[in-house]
Symmetry: C2
Subunit: 199 residues, 2 copies
């Protein structure tokens, strides 16, 4: 069974959705380690409550690659084969990306390439788009940039504010991340240029 390493910095709601998908048998994988770069991340407490192995490696003040080396070392010891970013608020070094090339996933709360970076839902709301959504993508050296595995879209309603929009996107994130993970772990996809296509 494929072993996953989860990286998070906050509540890790996408991690929890994936854990539930695994429990339900929708994803054929197990979570080998949950790593947080913040001691106070509620996602770590939640992982412990689920009986999962956890590790806190504070990143503040540490050099990027130095911190990444400690994280990768822990992930390797745990046997992690695929890496799932679940609200990990730290850019991975190119070195880290290379260690798990093509096997790191991220989710972003917009229809990339629109609104990369922080506060994507507020960016989208303020721009006045009428559709937004979420994007599960492979991680490369650039922020929110790798090949797209799965996108889901939601309409932005006249009655929305940035919070109702973010809530609506989050519901789709929880569905999309598990779907995308199941797809890549099945191996039933091919990549043509930047396009990820089902086999």
């Amino acid at each position: 069974m494929t072993k996953l390493g989860i990286l998070l910095s906050g509540r890790g709601s996408n991690f929890l959705a994936i854990a539930e998908s695994i429990r339900l048998g929708h994803i054929d994988a197990e979570i080998a380690l949950v790593v947080s770069n913040r001691e106070d991340a509620p996602g770590i407490t939640a992982a412990q409550a689920l009986g999962l192995p956890t590790l806190v490696l504070p990143s503040q003040g540490r050099k990027r690659q130095e911190h990444d080396e400690a994280v990768v070392d822990a992930l390797r010891r745990a046997g992690a084969e695929w890496i799932v970013l679940a609200g990990y608020m730290r850019l991975l070094s190119p070195w880290f990306v290379h260690q798990f090339a093509g096997r790191i996933l991220n989710i972003h709360p917009s229809l990339l390439p629109a609104f990369p970076g922080l506060d994507a839902q507020k960016q989208a709301f303020d721009y006045g788009v009428q559709f937004s959504g979420c994007t599960v993508h492979f991680v490369d050296e650039h922020l929110d940039h790798g090949a797209i595995i799965l996108q889901k879209s939601v309409p932005v309603l006249p009655t929305d504010d940035e919070h109702t929009l973010a809530d609506r996107i989050l519901v789709l994130e929880h569905i999309a991340y598990s779907e995308a993970l199941a797809l890549v772990l099945s191996g039933k996809y091919r990549v043509e240029g930047r396009r990820v296509l089902p086999l």
Copy 2:
């Protein structure tokens, strides 16, 4: 009845869709003038066939504002109140935009702000997005940037190529442009920041 000025450079399929919407009574407006900056634009021939007033003002080699002044002069003489860009392959000068502030519309074949500029459908296809679409927006001084009036989205299918995607988007463009035009001409909208909301 509101008088429209149409600017085009090519076949003007969005212009033809709007002309048909007017004929069907879906838009309460009349086309006062169709201007092309290219002599060989098929849209001009089509406009003549519909019995509409047309004017060709070649832009090649002319300074932007000098050309724009001739266009605006013609539009004013024709009594145009709103300006509809229908594949007009020339950036309007800030001066032009100011002459019809808040009354110039454009359509772009992507979900802006993703993929502004030329070949938007190919850009979207090559990027590997799973949703694209079209955007009707107010024109400001920046390329493909003004407040969004209406967007429609289409899925990008695994079986698509850039041409099938462009064709699918074009069908929606023809619907979206007339809907957006009917909305703004009705006056039943308000603008909050960049958000265009129905009243």
